[in-house]
């Protein structure tokens, strides 16, 4: 228990220190651009408890969630198809490489033409940007299933559907989750970008509007909220991953010859990419 507390103390020391330094250094600030943290926090409470929750926060969260879910579902589905068929993989390889390296904000203008400036355009942009890491990782995961494991499934007469559902897909989950974590960060970025370009509400819209109307503490409060949302979602994702991949940690620990205990978390997975970047 004391070890756990020491770990928490160690991890929170730097953020707490930074907030304290920011608070002290900005306390007497006269700059319009860098108002005192005290003022930003007060504005944050004013704006986000709970004035603009319904008008800006909720719409943003809905778009983000919808886009992320579509990206994960589409990425896993297409990834399975492509991963299982060498022919399809060769046929789609160049297209996938082209689309995934295309800078996603560039397709906002045509997306507005076809889908308008509403929620469907934003969900499309988010999903289109976030699908690639999930798709590529699913393909890799599916192709990486141990041939010995597949032989076993065939000898024991598992039907195709069962092979995919109970053997191939679970074997690929560690990679699918790694792709999902990247997708989460991308989805958040594209949520903000799409709201800055064409929107009448949402967090991205709010931050840009505040800047344009010289409501600087409001601008900072929006950025603060975006950071917190990213941190929170990443935390939720890590928790889900730890639950779903408990077997994987145990299996890897056993393979490395470390002692294995039921339910013991041997390592703590870390975020690959800080969200909101």
């Amino acid at each position: 228990m004391t070890r756990r507390m020491r770990a928490i103390a160690l991890e929170s020391a730097l953020p707490v220190l930074l907030v304290v330094v920011w608070w002290a250094a900005s306390a007497d600030s006269e700059s319009i651009y860098f108002p005192p943290l005290r003022e930003i926090v007060a504005t944050f409470a004013d704006v986000w408890l709970f004035d603009r929750v319904a008008s800006d926060l909720i719409p943003s969260l809905i778009r983000f969630t919808a886009g992320f879910v579509v990206a994960v579902a589409g990425g896993v589905g297409l990834g399975l198809l492509i991963g299982l068929s060498p022919l399809l993989r060769r046929a789609t390889d160049p297209l996938v490489d082209f689309l995934r390296t295309l800078p996603k904000p560039a397709i906002i203008p045509p997306a507005i033409l076809f889908l308008g400036a509403g929620a469907s355009m934003k969900v499309f942009i988010i999903a289109f940007g976030a699908i690639w890491p999930v798709l590529l990782n699913t393909v890799d995961g599916v192709r990486g299933v141990d041939p010995g494991t597949l032989d076993m499934a065939r000898v024991y007469g598992l039907r195709r559907g069962e092979r995919i559902r109970r053997v191939v897909l679970p074997a690929a989950t560690p990679q699918i989750f790694a792709g999902g974590r990247l997708a989460l960060a991308i989805a958040l970025i594209l949520m903000v970008v799409s709201e800055m370009v064409a929107s009448t509400n949402g967090l991205g819209y709010f931050v840009l509007l505040s800047q344009q109307t010289f409501a600087i503490p409001e601008m900072w409060s929006g950025i603060l909220l975006l950071g917190l949302i990213g941190y929170l979602f990443n935390g939720i994702f890590v928790l889900a991953e730890r639950r779903a991949l408990r077997w994987h940690r145990g299996w890897r620990a056993a393979a490395l010859g470390q002692p294995v205990e039921a339910g013991a978390a041997t390592t703590r997975p870390r975020a690959l990419v800080a969200p909101g970047g």
Binding site: G148, M152, R154, V155, Y156, G157, G250, A254, A262
Partner: protein, 268 residues
């Protein structure tokens, strides 16, 4: 039961073709325990893949109970050498054993019964809800054996199943397999490179030549049953059989073609 007739398997074509199995013919009678021995690299694994319907032979046939094996037969179960790859780490021991039974159309209550019976028979009654990676290597191979038995096969193929466990565990597992063979009334075809193991377990030992693989000799093992690790292995007949099989395996193939094969093996 199982009839293998002039079975060959060649990988590749033309000049780069490699003959992994060159013309094998043998039979396994119902209830028999037959071991196949040969040096490593003599195509034992390829043979088992053909027999379990994973790959088609280049020529010849394998017939199981009157049916040509052209896909995995549902009367056949296979225990793989590498339990760590054949057991699914995301499933509990129980789920690993019941998984193949779903495809057989067995209802869920019966699946549980079969799994519990098989797991109890291999001595894992307290471990139903563990994960494979929480068990020792020997116990994991017991799970794999239980999965094979719960599948209710007529014939059980085993591909060097005890090659990666320690000696003591190996002896225990050998005795376990002999006991289960009687209990579940199953025919066993057991592949190994360990001569002692082959003689200790089997009714007949099929000795293979180095590639291109053929049957060198089929050795009858008329040792009394039940077998016992100390008593059986101490019998003069056991020692004689051991020396005989050893000699068969070590003997240089006759003719220059054989010599080439042998020198190839040394080179690699």
């Amino acid at each position: 039961m199982l009839e293998v007739t002039q079975l060959t398997k060649t990988y590749g074509r033309g000049a780069s073709a490699v003959q992994a199995v060159g013309n094998l013919t043998f039979r396994v009678a119902p209830g028999e325990f037959v071991c196949i021995v040969g040096q490593s690299g003599c195509g034992k694994t390829t043979l088992l893949k053909c027999l379990s319907g994973l790959i088609p032979p280049t020529s010849g046939t394998a017939v199981l109970q009157g049916q040509v094996i052209d896909r995995p037969p549902d009367k056949l179960a296979l225990v793989f050498q590498e339990y760590s790859r054949s057991l699914l780490p995301w499933m509990t021991v129980r789920a690993n054993v019941t998984l193949p039974l779903r495809s057989k159309g067995i209802d869920s209550a019966r699946r549980e019964d079969l799994a519990e019976e098989a797991l109890t028979a291999v001595g894992l009654s307290g471990f139903f809800d563990r994960y494979p990676w929480q068990l020792s290597g020997g116990m994991q191979q017991r799970v794999a054996i239980a999965r094979a038995l719960a599948y209710q096969p007529e014939i059980l193929l085993m591909d060097e199943p005890f090659a990666s466990v320690d000696a003591q565990t190996r002896a225990d597992l050998e005795d376990l397999v002999l006991r289960l063979r009687d209990e579940f009334d199953v025919t066993v075809l057991f592949v190994t490179h360990d001569i002692d193991e082959a003689i200790y377990l089997s009714d007949r030992v099929i000795v293979l030549t180095p590639p291109p693989t053929r049957v060198r000799e089929v050795v009858d093992v008329n040792l009394p049953r039940p077998r016992d690790q100390i008593e059986t292995k101490g019998l003069p007949a056991f020692t004689r059989l051991r020396a005989h099989v050893f000699e068969l395996i070590k003997r240089e193939p006759a003719g220059s073609a054989g010599d080439e094969v042998l020198s190839d093996q040394h080179a690699t």
